[in-house]
């Protein structure tokens, strides 16, 4: 039998080819952009990175004096500690509450409470970071001074509380996914053995969902490290190694945001800020990579 397929109009064929080409291009766009970001940030920072920056001093010195007239020093040590301390405290607050809420939503509450809780958590996630910063300045600042009798209200604690409230939604949603991913057979088996819900959670579900919960925490960390506006407004912005929760600090992100406008394009200060950007990009890359590997690990298992 001769070819019985209807002939397609050339226009149709051509347009289809064009669209498929566009689709392919868009497909690799994400890769292009990630490389693009790294490339452009690196490009602006590289000349100084390889042309004069004392890397040891950069990473470990706590003296940050980019605009000094007498003794220019680019030490981000205190900034790294600032980012680290705020993130660590934020995680210390967010992990128990986030995982606790995830366990509650997944195992302990009724359908209607679950729906309303989920809506509230989505609301929490939608609040923009500049609004959180504003809340930090206007609400948390006096609150911390009153409740804790702290000398200053813009400090590590303030920033950490804000970051915790910002990262909790991610942790709850991914944590809940991780717990839901544990097959019901586990729960049924525990029930058959006479376990209460708490015992099921503690002895069966948590160990089983361990990697998913870890991924949730890692993603929360990634979010916290990368946060800019809220910490810019609420941590007191002091180049300082904090000796207590109530000391003001400055983070890497806030430093870039505060100083980028002034540095004239091409100057050493400008390039150092981009180098800090490279540092941030690397940190979040590693954190998100590990989180993704962990998440993929659980998905494959199911």
């Amino acid at each position: 039998m001769a070819d019985a397929r209807p002939k397609r109009r050339t226009w149709e064929v051509v347009s289809e080819r064009l669209i498929e080409f566009a689709i392919r291009v868009c497909g690799i766009s994400a890769v292009l952009f990630v490389f693009g970001i790294f490339f452009f940030v690196f490009r602006e920072g590289a000349p100084f990175l390889f042309g004069g920056l004392n890397l040891g001093q950069f990473l470990f010195s706590t003296e940050w004096y980019p605009t000094s007239h007498s003794n220019v020093r680019y030490g981000v040590g205190a900034l790294i500690v600032g980012t680290f301390s705020v993130t660590a405290l934020a995680m210390a607050i967010a992990v128990p509450f986030g995982l606790g809420a995830a366990i509650f939503v997944s195992e302990f509450c009724g359908k209607r409470t679950r729906e309303s809780l989920k809506i509230i958590i989505e609301l929490l996630a939608a609040i923009p970071s500049v609004v959180w910063g504003f809340i930090g300045i206007s609400v948390m600042n006096p609150l911390i001074q009153d409740v804790f009798h702290a000398p200053v209200g813009l400090n590590v604690l303030n920033g950490a509380i804000l970051l915790a409230l910002m990262s909790v939604p991610i942790m709850v949603s991914i944590g809940e996914d991780a717990l839901k991913a544990v097959p019901d057979t586990y729960r049924e088996a525990a029930l058959a053995l006479g376990a209460t819900r708490w015992q099921t959670v503690y002895r069966v579900l948590l160990p089983a969902a361990k990697s998913g919960l870890l991924a949730a925490v890692l993603l929360g960390v990634g979010r916290a490290v990368g946060e800019t506006m809220a910490v810019l407004m609420a941590t007191g912005h002091a180049v300082n190694i904090p000796k207590s929760l109530f000391d003001p600090v400055r983070t890497l992100t806030a430093t870039i945001a505060a100083e980028l406008g002034e540095a004239s394009v091409g100057s050493d200060h400008y390039r150092v800020l981009f180098i800090i950007g490279i540092l941030l990009f690397t940190i979040t890359f590693i954190v998100n990579l590990s989180a993704d590997l962990v998440v993929r690990g659980i998905r494959r298992r199911n």
Partner: protein, 312 residues
């Protein structure tokens, strides 16, 4: 069916978008002489002036821009803050027509600006003065301070860390005796000026001060923090903070910052405010700058809490 609808909608929106963008662009280009009815002379060409820079001056620049819009609606002044450093950087980059600075241009900056604009030197216009006030919490019993003490508090290596060292035994509400230093970020002209005058040009600030983004934040923070001390323009004073009198040396009389003491230089920490243009300003910008230096413009300086130029 639905995707056809959506795609036609998108194409429609896209073409409308392109249409009005190109229309906008045409509007901004000056009408060539022969085109449609010639616009009345002295006229319809709208000029936008990018005014970027000092935070100290930003509210003042804003007030000027608004007032001037009433006088010459064809000139639209767009104001941005960010700090004197930001303004100067923008001047060098070419993104600012007028840069506000609460300090003089450094020689390197002049060189960079010349290089970026084909050898033209940036023009300097002095538009007023600003007294830099030292603020403390209202409940702080301290009334005056010397320049040396200020230096020891703020300078890297300075020995003064506690209020007791400047004679303040206790501040009601302060939780410990530490002096909480409030400062500005290093893109601020105020920061640079303070470093030059109080800390010492060859030295740097002590690490650990709370470096605020704007003068307003400095005053607000000091108002809420009993153990704090901070510096910011006189124009940012509110009823919630106390201003200290400053003496040049121990034993000399301490002067309160005010218009008179700033103009006759008895108050030691005051500085002129500048506006810079890259080379000779365009006629529209020149008229604006000249207006600023007239009585009308200077009245706004005074209303905003700054010190107007001495009347000639």
């Amino acid at each position: 069916m639905r995707t056809k609808l959506i795609s036609t909608l998108l194409i429609g929106i896209a073409s409308i978008g392109i249409a009005f963008v190109s229309c906008k662009k045409k509007e901004e280009a000056p009408a060539p002489g022969s085109a449609a009815p010639p616009p009345p002379p002295a006229a319809a060409k709208k000029e936008t002036v990018q005014n970027i820079g000092s935070d100290t001056m930003v509210n003042l620049a804003q007030a000027w821009a608004e007032e001037y819009a009433k006088i010459d609606p064809n000139v639209s002044v767009e104001v941005s803050g960010g700090g004197s450093g930001v303004g100067i950087a923008a001047l060098i980059n070419g993104t600012a027509d007028v840069a506000n600075a609460s300090r003089k241009l450094e020689p390197e900056e002049v060189e960079k600006a010349k290089a970026a604009h084909g050898g033209k030197e940036p023009q300097e216009f002095m538009v007023g003065y600003d007294g830099l006030a030292i603020y403390v919490h209202k409940a702080n019993p301290l009334e005056e301070i010397t320049m040396e003490d200020l230096g020891e508090i703020y300078r890297e290596g300075g020995k003064t860390e506690k209020w007791a060292q400047v004679g303040v035994k206790s501040i009601p509400g302060a939780k410990d005796g530490n002096i909480i230093r409030v400062s500005r970020q290093n893109n601020s002209g105020t920061y640079h000026y303070f470093r030059e005058t109080v800390v010492g040009k060859k030295s740097d600030f002590k690490s650990g001060s709370m470096d605020m983004n704007g003068s307003k934040e400095v005053v607000e923070l000091v108002a809420k923090t009993p153990g704090a001390i901070g510096y910011a323009g006189l124009g940012y004073a509110t009823g919630e903070v106390k201003i200290l009198k400053v003496s040049k040396k121990k034993g000399e009389p301490a002067i309160k910052p005010a218009n008179a003491t700033v103009l006759d230089k008895t108050y030691p920490i005051s500085r002129p405010m500048f506006m810079y243009t890259p080379g000779e300003p365009s006629p529209g910008v020149k008229k604006y700058l000249e207006w600023i230096m007239t009585d009308a413009g200077q009245k706004i300086v005074e209303q905003s809490g700054y010190v107007p130029l001495a009347k000639k």
